[in-house]
Symmetry: C2
Subunit: 308 residues, 2 copies
């Protein structure tokens, strides 16, 4: 299986060293240097790689645009249309155009996989697709943003104010210089959109999510929760039958499986047969994203069933 | 795909009503009545079903014998040898003869799946095989027995003695009349053997597990842990590189992901790329077991790749 990789940054770097361990022949992009070279030097653009390289599977890890999905959407569409499998960590195109891309993949008898788009290293998409296959998925709830969870954990554990905890998160590299995307719940909302559209086949957009972030949460609120053996977490929740699709700070019992510490992510799936199943793990990081991407690549390598 | 089911009891009953929902044609055994009839009346034994029925996949849910794996081991061997897929919830044959059965399945180009043998509805085997594919699995630790976890939870939360909590567990149907198998850690140890042999390819047996149960644990020990923001859980642990394979009561911080309440099970997988990933859910129950079995059946239906 020949693999092409497009995209820069920590994700691409975290992965490229590891992917050769899977016994996969990466003809188009063998290592980090070539990957950077192909996309970074004039004359060999990502578009050139997609349209001219000899590959069976595209790994797409370019930066996310949650509104348009571009340029990744165009890249993925082109690769699928040319009969290539696609594995992406990019939330944009999956949130914006999952159904279109999914139909295209089916038409061309190739796979589109996106484990890395939701909760990093936590294999939630495969748990939903395979591990819980046959179950009716009634509800998905979870902690989908590690930055917010870190801030809330530090406020509760150390009595820091929101501003103090945010500053600490920035210093440790857990929050961006502009933390809006995380603390206002937008990043978590995009993951809900992906889950709603991929798990239930809905056609939701970011506008459909009822979003409240953590940026106006007071230490007093956390202290109040603490007095009742509870704490506050930014919880994303999808219950299609009740038309619920929301991100909001919620008071949770401290021993609830979704009450995880620090930058962890957690997802609870409510099902008819399996009951409540919870997955916890690291939601961000280059190696964690690489884990999700590689598991997708290996799944396609091992289990792609050619239809006649 | 034609499915034969052998086995009685709550597992068979919990499943048979549900399996037709998967769009699967169960020619050999269509419903609970027939399943009971086939195995329960003279003249139509489980052996008759296996050797004479027209089926592609055998669901084997007969009672467990952890020492010999029989009679399930013979049933499974026969079905695989005849080129049939096998899905089992039976810990015995997988703990006793995984490598032999696995080789036989590979020779015959059929699949042997056993998701239900470890932690019921928690899709841990698929998480290890697919969700975390490409990762080196460094360590697996977890709460593998819901009966013990229920007893420990009640001792810690309500100040019950071991005997009181055990009596309560019996009254609620969480513990058998003879609780030895659970409280002495044997049930959990069998699951460790299955994980050790299937995940790392080891050839361990029950004798290789260093087992300490919870039956001599005092309330005083739990109270001591509680004073340090900790509690006690019966933890199973496999670290092949350190030759560790043990079940023992362990002092755990209360906010540790493995500290789950009541009859829940939890498994933490330590990996090189994904870091620590934890799965939590119900480890027993007929619907929960059915969930695991059906997910195996659907995986085989959807992803069995015929080798030429």
């Amino acid at each position: 299986m020949k693999i092409a990789l497009i995209g820069f940054g920590s994700v691409g770097r975290g992965k490229s060293g590891i992917i050769s361990a899977g016994g996969i022949d990466m003809r188009a992009v063998l290592d980090r240097k070539k990957a950077t070279g192909m996309c970074g030097t004039p004359g060999i653009s990502a578009w050139d790689v997609i349209t001219t390289a000899d590959y069976d599977l595209l790994i797409e890890v370019t930066p996310t645009d949650a509104t348009t999905g571009e340029p990744a959407l165009t890249y993925i569409r082109e690769a699928l249309a040319a009969g290539r499998h696609v594995v992406t960590s990019n939330k944009g195109p999956i949130a914006v155009a999952f159904h279109e891309l999914s139909r295209l993949a089916a038409e061309k008898n190739v796979q589109l996989r996106y484990e890395a788009t939701v909760c990093g290293a936590v294999p939630i998409m495969k748990a939903l697709e395979h591990g819980l296959a046959g179950n009716e998925i009634i509800k998905i709830s979870g902690v989908f943003n590690g930055t917010c969870n870190y801030i809330l954990t530090r406020m509760a554990d150390e009595g820091l104010t929101y501003q103090q905890a945010l500053m600490e998160a920035r210093e440790l590299g857990y929050a961006e210089a502009d933390p809006t995307y995380d603390v206002q719940g937008i990043d978590a909302a995009i993951k809900l959109v992906i889950l709603a559209n991929t798990v239930w086949g809905l056609s939701t957009t970011l506008d459909d999510v009822d979003i409240t972030g953590i940026d106006s949460l007071t230490l007093a609120a956390l202290e109040l929760a603490d007095g009742q053996e509870c704490t506050i977490r930014l919880i994303g929740e999808i219950i299609p039958k009740k038309n619920i699709l929301r991100i909001s700070p919620r008071i949770m019992p401290k021993n609830h499986p979704l009450v995880v510490s620090g930058t962890l992510n957690a997802v609870m799936v409510d099902t008819d047969m399996a009951g409540e199943v919870t997955l916890i793990g690291k939601g961000a990081g280059s190696r964690e994203t690489a884990s999700a991407i590689i598991s997708d690549v290996l799944f396609i390598r091992d289990y792609h069933v050619k239809r006649s």
